[in-house]
């Protein structure tokens, strides 16, 4: 449709661009300048120094370790989700048993449980299980809280597989198990990549479970590292922002290479 441009909307969109862009610019600029320069010139001034000290400094204060911990948590959470959710979604979509539809209801209900609601007993249960201050103690609940949304996303994708394909496989005498591996998994790759991105984001950006369930430096994840850095060296703003930028680099890489799955994964995040 040809129409005259909407100037009012254009102006509004530029204003929002400014609101989003300015902080991001200040953040990037601040991390590339010295602390003195930042303190003197203020956040929005033009930098007149260039340094990478803020990034190396972040690594010196332990961010390498936190990175590694976060990576371990993320990989394990994604692994658990990939291992347990596809069979669940398969049963939800294909099983006719009453128990399965009850299970689906349970997971729908689970969508509404915020992590904040369960951290108190979680702390108790994880401590009792001897997993306090252990990455496994962070991994298990984080993965569990990814299940409801992942099950919803994946069962949606599996529902799109046409019933004729199942019938065709049944002609060949395929068992449910063979249908799962040869038909369902290959045909729901889109849904699978969405749940991978979704749970990876949850794990990478997770804060509450690590905050409550870990305490020592050797189990610290990156969000917790940021929080500690802020409470301990709050005045070193360029250094702090350097750590913030580092924490988002992996997510930005995913954004560049798997934009579609990321957008869908993010919509899932909103559903939490």
């Amino acid at each position: 449709m040809r129409r005259r441009p909407n100037y009012l909307a254009g102006a509004g969109s530029l204003l929002w661009l400014f609101l989003v862009g300015l902080p991001l610019y200040v953040m990037l600029a601040a991390t590339l300048r010295s602390r003195g320069d930042y303190a003197e010139g203020g956040p929005v001034s033009i930098p007149d120094s260039f340094t990478l000290d803020n990034y190396t400094g972040a690594f010196d204060s332990g961010f390498g370790r936190y990175f590694l911990n976060t990576l371990v948590v993320t990989v394990c959470v994604v692994g658990l989700v990939l291992l347990l959710v596809p069979p669940l979604a398969y049963a939800i979509v294909r099983s006719r048993s009453r128990a399965t539809s009850l299970i689906f209801r349970l997971f729908l209900l689970g969508l509404a449980i915020p992590a904040q609601a369960v951290i108190v007993p979680m702390f108790y249960l994880i401590s009792e299980a001897g997993l306090y201050d252990n990455l496994l103690g962070v991994i298990l609940p984080t993965a569990a809280f990814c299940f409801p949304m992942s099950a919803l996303i994946l069962s949606g994708a599996m529902r799109d597989i046409s019933p004729e394909l199942f019938e065709a496989m049944a002609m060949d005498g395929a068992t449910p198990r063979r249908m799962f591996f040869q038909l369902v998994v290959p045909l729901s790759r889109g849904g699978l990549s969405t749940i991978v991105v979704f749970s990876a984001l949850q794990a990478w950006n997770g804060f509450l479970f690590p905050l409550v369930l870990t305490q020592s430096d050797s189990t610290k994840v990156i969000t917790l590292g940021l929080y500690n850095f802020q409470t301990e060296h709050g005045i070193d703003i360029p250094g702090l922002l350097g750590a913030v930028v580092l924490s988002m680099v992996p997510v930005l890489l995913v954004y560049l290479f798997a934009r579609r799955a990321l957008v869908q994964g993010l919509m899932g995040v909103g559903g939490k």
Binding site: M1, G12, W16, L19, V20, P23, G42, P43, L80, P87, L88, A91, S95, R96, S97, A99, T100, L106, A112, I113, P114, Q116, A117, V118, V120, P121, M122, F123, L125, P141, A143, A144, F145, P148, G156, F166, A170, D172, G173, A174, T175, P176, R177, N205, G206, F207, L208, T223, Q230, G234, L240, V244, M248, V251, L252, V263, Q264, V269, G270, G271
Partner: protein, 318 residues
Amino acid sequence: MTTQITSPPPTAEPRKRARRRPDGSYTAKVARPGFGWAVPATVFFALFAIVPLIAVAVLSFMSWNGLGSPEFVGMDNWTRIADDPVMINSIWLTLLLTALGVIIQTPLSILLGVWAAGNQRNRAVLSAIYFIPLLLSSTAVSVLWRALLDPNFGIPARATWLFGDGNLFGKQATAIGVLAFVSAWQFTPLHTLIYQGAARAIPQVLYQAAEIDGAGRYRQFFHITLPQLRNSIITSMILMIVGGLTTFETVLILTQGGPGTDTTISAYYMYQKAFKGFDFGAGAAIALALVVAATIISLIVVKVSGYDKMRSDMEGVS
């Protein structure tokens, strides 16, 4: 857990009468997975989400200081939090912040989403940038804004003509303003995405018909776009309400509930009670109250809007 999944129980389909046959004589019956396939995930989820949820209800009637065993104390935690002025105040603050979130973000994200739904090239590029705040964790967003709004080294200190003494964290009104602003900065892109997807799904025929009838851009917006976005508005509002009631990181990092207890909202107060004051019973009671409140408010929104009678609940998810 690994072993459970690779071998689904052999009793997977005990009730099926007609079996698949290798020679193909009963082909009409397609073998279906039994509920055994769902068991590993369900057990895992029950263990780490449902059990804690039940435990939070039980703990709210117990006293526990983090060491030793919890003891049953009846309604004690509940009567204590009901008499606690900080708690009562925190409820109002939570509701205020949630309402501010809905009021600020809904119109903004509808306008941005409808705008971004257009297929002009510049719009696609700009929406890709709008999207960036969503990539950051709440922690990173809060740390970033805490640094940008720092009373001594931040933007307000350089723009005293606009911000007065430059300490936005020193007064209740401005501190609440900061929290509402940062939440909007972080979450508007999410809701924009929802509206963008939904606006793209509106049939173009409606606009063409309106054009023929001579309806202008603004009439089209109010008479076609807005009504068509109804489902998404409800989805997005529920997300905002649940998100608002459980806001935590933003408060912890930006204001620490201060000045004084002026921004101590319920989720933050729960954390303080339990993990700083070692009063886990009271923390559990607050947590349970939060879940119940979030559920009730969401149900009311669903009922009032008639959303439960509509078909698609994933509308807007592109």
